[in-house]
Amino acid sequence: MTETASREGLPTPTRPAAPPGSGLFRRVRNHGVSLAIGVLLLFNLLFTPNFATVGNLRLQLVQVVPIAIVALGMALVVATEGIDLSVGSVMAVAAAIIPLYLGYGPWLAVAVGLVAGAVVGALNGSLVAFCGVQPIIATLGVLVAGRAAALVLADGRLVEIFDPTLQTLGNGSVLGVPVTLVILAVLATLVVVTVRWSVVGRRLVAIGGNRAAARLAGLPVRRTLLTVYVLSGVLAALAGVLNTARLGASDPSFVGLLIELSAITAVVVGGTPLSGGRIRVIGTLLGALLMQLIAATVIQHDLPDSLARMIQAGIIVVAVYVQRDRGGA
């Protein structure tokens, strides 16, 4: 509450105004995901045998890692009013590359995989930022071509990988905490910091919110967009690497298949609107966790595939409905 405003005799606000669609709403909204997660957890604790075991909960966290990592990158893209459908294929490319370079040592292999991710990301970014192609279609093209390229690299075959380093990377744990989970935690923190306090972070949200305005304010729109898609590519590649490490096999045909949809759902369920201009990192993580819990629940209750899909649909809609933007569709 500024001193000037009070001079204007403005009625003292009950609470400092909060971000869009504020107030009580926002309270519920931001907790919409947590709410859904809570309900689901409660249900499982009550009705799912052997759910409340450390092992099981740990498992859910471990399985969520790939989607969560991809979703982090996706959130950045979505915040710029973009979308990245190519993430699954990027995972495949990274996976396909690892066995090719394993000869030169695991770390180099991983590095090359990540670089590949960056390159594909740069391709997406250039198409969107410099050629003005609409993100969904640009990344769709890369989705098709990317997966196929991965299959060409690997000649369509799954390759088993016996490498101690990757083994620990995928399945090891430090102080009882799975390595992959640690990695996720670190990444999440980095992204949060970037979004909250870095110049790039502030910029990408502004660009998503109103590109024309961002441009007139002298923001490097294109460069920022490029950066964002590269980040998304790298994160997806990392997810592909971890996936491969954990499975002990590089399976470019199937790794990350359709993950883009789960990731986008996680992002949106987490409260980042596809219209851009806003980003919720923690929400995204929670969104991913929700997706994971749904999957776990239907499997552990041995529901038939048909029913599983319908239930998943229901939960997604409800979760998003709770935090829908009253502003406009």
Binding site: L10, P16, G218
Partner: protein
């Protein structure tokens, strides 16, 4: 008594936007609604027309209590509204915008575009807007868009016409046209509500006037029984004798310190041309100078400043900043880096980032300066924001409030602050005081003066001629994208400007 608002209240989070407001609209009378930015004028209108629902109070329309669920309902019963943030579809043609929802149909119940375009052309030419109605509305300047909005609102046979700051970017000429339109409406016994910050319009057009302050009605009565000074006083809530009676605007005479002796222009353009928009425009600003651009709707003033700022390409011509020619790849980013700032006339589309907080919007352009190693220093950021919120008296619940929740005028102030906080060498201001209340306008004018005094070069576009007359050291007069004359010193007067434009018009007529 057509429309009667009784003790209506509206509470937004943290703000009581309307507090037991009464308002009466009578057939055949024009009711002027005035008040500072953020007083609650637009909110009142939105509540009256079903955009917002009132928390308390009731609205009676032609004798019966009404509760509109959506603007649609209000329009259905003959209440037609022009909202402050123009409600048109930029991507669609002018004609479609005019007729959306009530397009002329042929026997097959299909839209008869020929008829639609004919009528559209006819309607607009009545408002003196000579545009190709098949073109997307977005191609045209805000002025045109505002006229289209007016035409749309009036051409529906409405019993009540509500206009939220319809003249904010209209030229005197267009204002005259609007005046005629309003007279016709009155003749048809239509009730008109009219929001403006240009007080002379209140006295010229209105019969009744209501003053809002901080969401409360502080005065309501016949225009005849009040005067400008009293009105200002009630708006600001200060005793009359406080409100000094100096000039219409608060520019010091001559405006600015006058041209610096070194004489080298901080910004100069030679022969800027772009097909269909600009032809051989040459302008220059020296340090400490306020250079005005005058002209009618679509004369190319915005075009000019946007070209100077690198926001629009040019086919030919050169732009020099501080004597240095700018490269081919002149862009807003480079312009800002080079000390040039622009405040666009279109605050909604090119100005605010609605979802972002006031803070983020204000510092948007200054981020690199506030950052250390890529990360923004919160402390410096807040300091900066605080200074400008004070300086421009931006009214908000706090720097975290989303800027779209601010009133129109306050959004404008945020945009000014965004550029001012860069302390640039040259400021290009396209309708900077558009939609800003008398109090704040005075401050901004004083600010421009002060900045100029401190050696800043200013290019000022204003639809209010007296602002140019009192504020500018030199005025370039534009018409159809070309400079048709420039005035300096005492030669600057509303009369001279208008005659220059008229003369150019006559030459043109003569030439072809």
């Amino acid at each position: 008594m057509t429309l009667h608002v009784e003790a209506v209240s509206k509470q937004f989070l943290g703000v009581l936007a309307l507090d037991r407001v009464d308002l009466v609209l009578r057939p055949g009378r024009v009711h002027a609604l005035v008040g500072e930015n953020g007083a609650g004028k637009s909110t009142l209108i939105k509540v009256m027309t079903g955009v917002h629902r009132p928390d308390r109070g009731r609205i009676t329309y032609r004798g019966e209590v009404v509760g509109f669920g959506a603007p649609r309902d209000a329009q259905a019963v003959g209440i037609s509204t022009i909202y402050q943030e123009l409600n048109l579809v930029a991507a669609m043609s002018v004609a479609r915008n005019l007729f959306l929802g009530r397009e002329p149909l042929n026997r097959l119940r299909l839209i008869d575009f020929a008829a639609m375009h004919r009528e559209a052309q006819a309607v607009l030419s009545r408002y003196g807007v000579a545009v190709d109605v098949r073109r997307p509305l977005g191609e045209f300047s805000t002025g045109v868009q505002q006229m289209v909005a007016i035409a749309r609102a009036v051409s529906t046979r409405a019993r009540v016409v509500i206009m939220d700051e319809p003249t904010s970017s209209l030229e005197p000429r267009e204002v005259d046209r609007l005046a005629q339109v309003i007279d016709l409406l009155r003749a048809d016994e239509v009730a008109v509500l009219f929001v403006t910050h240009k007080l002379d319009e209140v006295f010229r057009l209105g019969q009744d006037v209501t003053v809002l302050r901080d969401g409360r009605r502080v005065f309501s009565g016949e225009v005849a029984d009040t005067d400008r000074l009293r009105l200002v006083a009630t708006m600001l809530g200060r005793p009359v004798d406080d409100v000094s009676a100096h000039g219409l605007t608060s520019f010091g005479d001559g405006g600015g310190a006058g041209p610096g002796d070194d004489g080298v222009a901080v910004l100069r353009a030679d022969d800027l041309s772009r097909r269909g928009a600009l032809s051989h425009v040459s302008v220059d600003v020296r340090p400490g100078e306020v250079v005005g651009l005058a002209g009618l709707l679509g004369s190319g003033r915005s075009e000019t400043v946007r070209a100077l700022f690198g926001a629009e390409p040019v086919d030919s011509g050169t732009i020099l900043v501080g004597g240095e020619p700018t490269g081919r790849r002149w862009s807003p980013a480079r312009a800002i880096a080079g000390g040039v700032g622009l405040v666009s006339e279109d605050r909604k589309v090119e100005g605010i980032v609605g979802d972002l907080s006031v803070r983020d919007n204000l510092v948007l352009a200054a981020l690199p300066r506030l950052a250390r190693g890529g990360f923004v220093s919160r402390r410096r950021c807040d300091a900066l924001v605080d200074t400008f919120v004070r300086r421009l008296r931006i009214k908000m619940t706090g720097p975290d409030q989303p800027v779209r929740e601010l009133s129109g005028g306050n959004q404008q102030k945020v945009l000014l602050a965004r550029m001012l906080c860069l302390n640039p060498k040259v400021l290009l201001l396209d309708e900077p005081t558009r939609g800003i209340d008398v109090g704040a306008k005075a401050e901004i004018q004083a600010l421009i003066d002060e900045l100029a005094g401190a050696g800043l070069g200013v290019v000022l576009i204003s639809s209010e001629l007296e602002e140019l007359v009192e504020g500018a050291t030199r005025v370039f007069v534009l018409r159809d994208g070309a400079v048709v004359g420039s005035l300096g010193g005492d030669a600057i007067s509303e009369h001279r400007i208008m005659t220059t434009i008229a003369a150019a018009a006559r030459e043109e007529a003569a030439s072809d």
